[in-house]
Symmetry: C2
Subunit: 254 residues, 2 copies
DNA sequence: GTCATATCTTGACCTGTGTCAGAAAAAGCC
DNA sequence: GGCTTTTTCTGACACAGGTCAAGATATGAC
């Protein structure tokens, strides 16, 4: 009885966090009934903020949770045979980090904060259990994983077939879309990652990223001030990415 | 009652197909109790063979099933803005095709047979339902999707960071591993895809693939006879891929 | 079998991007 | 504030791999 009581208390202090969270429309609770959101709330732990450079988890550590980003940005990466870091993704608010750990029971990548970042920890076994009780949650989980698969495959197309200009343009439009989805400006935003990290992610040298960005600015496609980016000429940028079939997809990567 | 009867008949003709299937230890039924395998059997439809070049499904079509490959090979690809095909994966027996369709309700890629191929169709809504009743099946499904995510991310590393030699070596060792897993020779096998398709997948020109393969043969790393490949010098090939951290991963892509 | 078509190989050449080097700007730090 | 360290930018140059071309080999149709 005391356990139930404790749970109720826990629930009452943190209850409706998901409901009140400005990200709830984008995050896991999407399409959940209020009571179901409460159930989800009960298994979620809000962790204290990570400072820039802090690890959320490290490659090889035991997997037990996925994390929803509340604020800030994370990168995931692994270390190649020659000891260099290979970035496999950037994660913005409302996005889920750590899904690749489910299979092997250890995280196959490390996750590190690019700036001050807060996350919600979601113990995966609890989430799986809960997904038995709430079909729409289970469906949502499948969808999120499926989405990740098709996004990563778009990324493979980008890495395999695109030149430096197309890569950088895709990257910027992709970020733009993610900001837009969260209600921020689609045209002006701040890059939380360095040029080096962008290059690493896109399979380009830092120098190439820098040159492409400079050239985009010269051609008045974008306006740049350090990490602040403003996309000035959307049509032209979209044309660069390829306006047809795959463009919509690419632009929607998240 | 007649419906139940029909189901029983269906079950009795096809029953234990999964149990008898030589792939069951690799495919979805992994770790399922006999009775659960029977339940799974009932929702699975064995389709008639695809001939080389036949589509299993096309990009944009309504998603309703995932498919387990029983024999043969498939490729998935999408069409880029400039109308060229970009291959996103090859699928061997026991592997699951179509998972990327769950999110958007349409397949984001097309799937085409590279040779005569048979598949089991698994209607996804049924599979999802069944996964509610069988926790180990649900867990297995999450694992399969998670595995796909981490494999694709390894592929991103390969596309972004590796040179032509490393790409081709990774590709061959990857195939070798997949054959081995199914009980076939890890050292000698037949490529069901053309050099062009390999190049497309790896982000290389056909000519480059051809040159690399020829050079590998000259250096006695492999022996080649058209589509027949024999890996002669495993240690050297593994060294090419990068023996450290990520190598094990890469070699395990599937 | 013969012919037609697709795939594969090889050579010669070209180009986009990586590498190296150094200067300029920004970010941390005491 | 000034100092150090990191990040960004720019230029000069090199080379991996793309492109073009042409011949060789394999595959398929009839």
């Amino acid at each position: 009885m005391s356990a139930t009581h404790a749970q109720t208390r826990f629930n009452s202090t943190l209850t409706s966090q998901c409901q009140n969270c400005s990200l709830s429309a984008l995050c896991l609770p999407i399409a959940l009934a209020d009571e179901d959101i409460n159930k989800l709330d009960q298994i979620i732990e809000r962790k204290k903020p990570l400072k820039k450079g802090d690890f959320l988890f490290r490659q090889g550590e035991k997997f037990d949770s996925v994390y929803a980003v509340r604020s800030g940005t994370l990168k995931t990466f692994n270390i190649t045979s020659v000891g260099e870091e290979q970035i496999t993704g950037f994660y913005c608010p409302s996005e889920l980090v750590g899904l690749s750990g489910v299979d092997s029971d250890t995280y196959p990548v490390s996750a590190k904060a690019l700036e001050t970042t807060t996350v919600c920890e979601i113990p995966f076994t609890h989430l799986e259990e809960l997904s038995t009780q709430i079909p729409s949650l289970r469906h949502q989980l499948f969808k999120v994983m499926s989405r990740k698969i098709s996004d990563d495959q778009q990324m493979m197309v980008l890495l395999g077939k695109k030149n430096a200009d197309e890569k950088v343009a895709s990257f910027l439009l992709n970020l733009s879309n993610r900001f837009k989805k969260r209600g921020y400006s689609a045209s002006a935003f701040r890059l939380s990652m360095s040029r080096g990290e962008i290059g690493n992610y896109l399979g380009l040298a830092v120098e190439t990223v820098s040159r492409v960005i400079t050239r985009f600015q010269k051609n008045e496609l974008i306006h740049v001030d350090g990490k602040e980016i403003e996309i000035v000429n959307f049509p032209e940028m979209q044309k660069l990415v390829g306006i047809a079939s795959d463009c919509g997809k690419i632009a929607n990567i998240r």
